[in-house]
């Protein structure tokens, strides 16, 4: 490793003697980014050749644009977050680029309705916001102060689309002047920030307080539990109103995971699972839209047996099956048979059919790596807010990948949700770039060498004393949220 990094010149100010110079690994990041750009450009060329048999003319422009964007993001990280995890940015860039390749390939099947250009513009906006967040947010703990503002904005964002007309049966879109976006996507980050701040402030009470019911089960004090249950009920209520089950499931899972991380109480998991089971049963039984999804999941080929032709899930399974081990090759599959939402919810089916089990597994492992780096940042951080936020953000990505991948491959009932970075959808791409920016910021803080002096790295706030690995709480850390 040292041999690799030794070759890379470091323009950043030289670290103090004895500091961990090797922990920056910016050269590794740049190399990986170059690889990601190469993969994306090759994919772009492959699709064009598979379509027309000749190279597209704007290739140099496209390749140059990608390289410039990658370089810009890299410079932002190098200058503003020099200790950041070197894997996070290249993985995000590669996934985003692969998504563009897949959407460009699917554009061939919808000649009157190209979407790759729009997705490219949204990706550029997402990357710009990434640079902005990395540059402007010098310390993640600044976010802790805006906990209640976050939750207020999140609820507002989720409520607004109720007043807009439904699109495909769900009130999750805002359409304005030709633009359309899903505010619920941004709400994910804001809710994660709020949960992290609130739980960091109250975790002692949550972990230790409450009357004992029996054995280890304790009833929590209403003062602590009240607000959080209210927030949860409200967000779930809004989502049921908007009929977007996927996001509802995501919020609930996020809530349970972060609560468990903050308190370590298995009871939370038990309560969470019971609540989830009850909710799932109720919604699956009484909501006709969701009920049909469950039926589909139990027997994807029922519509064929009824003579109505294959449903969407059956078409998706056909596409995955057609891919086999190595896939048909980009541009040689027939995933357009899925029809509606082939570029968004079902984009993985195209990846599965044309890149095969090998390609799809690689994509899933990339997500796994991204999530793992998020948890790694959480482990490296000292402050409970940062830890909870890193865990929350990593969990958002993990849950989304699980819910949509499991849905389109028939592992769990299908719920509409965007595959992070891959799926077509502007709000989703922008949101995911912000998540990645926050992970870069958090990992930078986690990997930064400990200063010897009492001041923190930026002199903003003293870091708390190291937490004992198994200790439930340190009162000194629970002062984040002003009451």
């Amino acid at each position: 490793m040292s041999a690799l990094t030794a070759k890379v010149a470091e323009p950043a100010p030289p670290p103090p003697p004895g500091a961990h110079a090797h922990r920056r690994r910016r050269g590794v990041e740049l190399t990986l980014l170059a690889g990601a750009v190469l993969v994306c450009v090759l994919g772009y060329l492959y699709v064009a050749v598979a379509d027309g048999g000749h190279l597209p003319r704007p290739t140099p422009r496209y390749a140059g644009g990608l390289a410039a964007a990658a370089l810009l993001a890299h410079l932002a990280v190098r200058l503003r977050a020099p200790y950041a995890d070197p894997l996070v940015l290249p993985i995000a860039f590669l996934l985003n680029g692969l998504g563009l390749v897949l959407i460009q390939r699917l554009d061939l099947t919808t000649p009157g309705h190209p979407t790759a250009g729009e997705q490219l513009r949204w990706s550029a906006l997402g990357l710009a916001l990434f640079v902005l967040v990395v540059a402007a947010l010098r310390d993640h703990r600044a976010l802790q102060r805006y906990a209640y503002l976050s939750v207020a904005v999140a609820l507002a964002l989720m409520l607004v689309p109720v007043f807009f007309p439904a699109v495909n049966g769900a009130h999750i879109w805002i359409r304005f002047a030709g633009f359309s976006f899903q505010p619920g996507e941004f709400a994910k980050i804001l809710l994660a920030v709020f949960f992290a701040a609130y739980l960091a402030a109250n975790r002692t009470a949550l972990a230790l307080g409450g009357r004992r019911l029996f054995w280890k089960l304790k009833l929590l004090p209403g003062r602590v539990l009240g607000p959080i249950l209210a927030i949860w009920l409200l967000s779930v209520g809004v989502l049921v109103l908007e009929r977007d089950l996927g996001t509802s499931l995501l919020f609930f899972g996020l809530f349970v995971i972060m609560l468990f991380t903050a308190t370590g109480r298995i009871g939370w998991i038990a309560i969470g699972l019971i609540l989830a089971a009850l909710g799932a049963y109720a919604v699956g039984t009484f909501e006709p839209h969701v009920h049909s999804r469950v039926e589909d999941w139990l027997n994807p080929f029922a519509s064929i047996e009824r003579g109505e032709g294959p449903g969407q899930l059956a078409q998706s399974l056909f596409a995955f099956g057609a891919g086999g081990l190595l896939g048909s090759g980009l541009g040689h599959g027939q995933s357009f048979l899925i029809g509606f939402a082939a570029k968004s919810d079902f984009i993985l089916a195209t990846a599965g059919e044309e890149l095969g089990l090998v390609g799809l597994s690689a994509i899933l492992l990339l997500y796994g790596l991204l999530v793992a780096r998020g948890f790694r940042a959480g482990l490296g951080l000292r402050d409970p807010f940062g830890r909870l936020l890193a865990t929350g953000l990593a969990s958002i990505v993990a849950l989304q990948v699980f819910v949509i991948t499991g849905g389109v491959t028939g592992l769990i009932p299908l719920t509409g949700m965007a595959m992070p970075f891959l799926a077509q959808g502007g709000s989703s791409v922008v949101t995911n770039w912000i998540i990645v920016a926050l992970l870069v910021r958090l990992s930078d803080c986690a990997r930064r060498p400990r200063p010897d002096g009492p001041d923190g790295p930026d002199g903003t706030e003293p870091t708390g004393p190291p937490e004992p690995p198994t200790g439930p709480a340190d009162p000194a850390e629970t002062t984040g949220v002003a009451r």
Binding site: F260, I304, G321, L364, G378, P384, S395, F402, T405
Partner: protein
Amino acid sequence: MIRYIRWCAYFCALLLAALLVNVARVQVWESAAAASNPANKRPAIQRYAERRGDILVDGRPVTGSRDSGQLLRYERTYRNGPLYAPVTGFSSQTYGTSFIERAEDRILAGTDPGLSAFPLWYELSRGRPPGGDAATTIRAAVQLAAYTGLGGKRGAVAAVEPATGRVLALVSSPSYDPSELSGTGARVKAAWARLNADPARPMLNRALRETYPPGSTFKIVTAAAALDSGVVTDVDAPTETPDPYPLPGTSTLLPNTSTGCADASMAEAVQWSCNTVMAKIGVRVGLRGMVEAARRFGFNDGGLYVPSWVSRSNFDTDMSPDQLALSAIGQFNTTATPLQMAMVAAAVANGGEVLSPYLVDRTTQADGSQVRRGDRRGLGRAMSPATALRLQELMVKVVEDGTGRNAAIPGATVGGKTGTAQHGVGNAGTPYAWFISWAKAQDAPFPAVAVAVVVEDASARRGDISGNSAAAPIARAVMQAALATPTRRR
């Protein structure tokens, strides 16, 4: 908190593992099941994604491919569809394939492993070779002569080259245009329904798939059996047969349609088509001898492919003597396809050797390099060469001065045999007119063609039905076309 973050990470790892296992299940385990699901359109899309190879007659394609722009993209077109329909069959997005389109489908659709220049090349490159071509043995002039000869009347013509077994013409009438069945949609379904409901049954390939009572043309088989078994040693010797002939064991009298059959010789019986004499000879040969002779000509064989499957021609193997007498003159349960009767004529013309008829001369890759070729393949000997020579003389007599004079061609040796087959309950149906024959150019070493013609509704007037008036002129036209354009040897 560190521990709980780790637990969360392990939980996420578990989710990832579940996803990977499930994806492997869907993509590998259940891959074959998904591909074979009838609702999965992928196999059909791939099948029609490229131009289909062509079927060639005289080196020129009689088929084509049209880009429909639909999901199942390339649709089949046919030049002279009704003329070649019994040869090509149809290739339909909705109804599949038939005849050569079916038999050579792997070549035409580009899925045959022989189309790959290097082993496993297309498996590795994941592409598909362009469809290959199938060159038929059909000769356009012969086919056309047969088709115009039938002129829309119900019937069929099969012509083969005796020395090789190459099928030179295969016509069924009335015919249909297979391009009506190409593609998808209401138009195709309507055409299919209409063609299937048509009482004239235009989609029936009468030359290969319909069996008719062969009538008097079967007397050639009986005569061969008699000569080979030694029942008749001198074809000119009187047979002491009464006219009419009482069927053995019954009081039923078998009449003749021609005069002068009483006590006629076998030569005269063939020349004038005497039912009485040939029935008696058949009984004298016996059931086993007759069954054996019929089998050697190709009867009772359900496994003939040219490469399209040919219906089994029947000669009963368990009969009373009176039934045998009727069977020996091509009645009772004896039935034959037109191709089978062409094979009978060809066996006589070819010195007794029966050759397996074949329709596909060679299959090629799109660039013309050969994949496989159809070869001359013997099916055994139907009679001794001496018997064949004797029968050739008898058949020539039929055309020169017998029942089949309408088939005579100046400047060529023509042998033939007429037939008029009764059928239907109580023989109430319009009789079928048959003619089987062969022709040899005067200076040629081998006969050029053997042909069988059957006309179902030869005439409205029952009395006019006869092989000579209805079928022989068609056979003559076919033989003339074959003699005029000898087979080019590659």
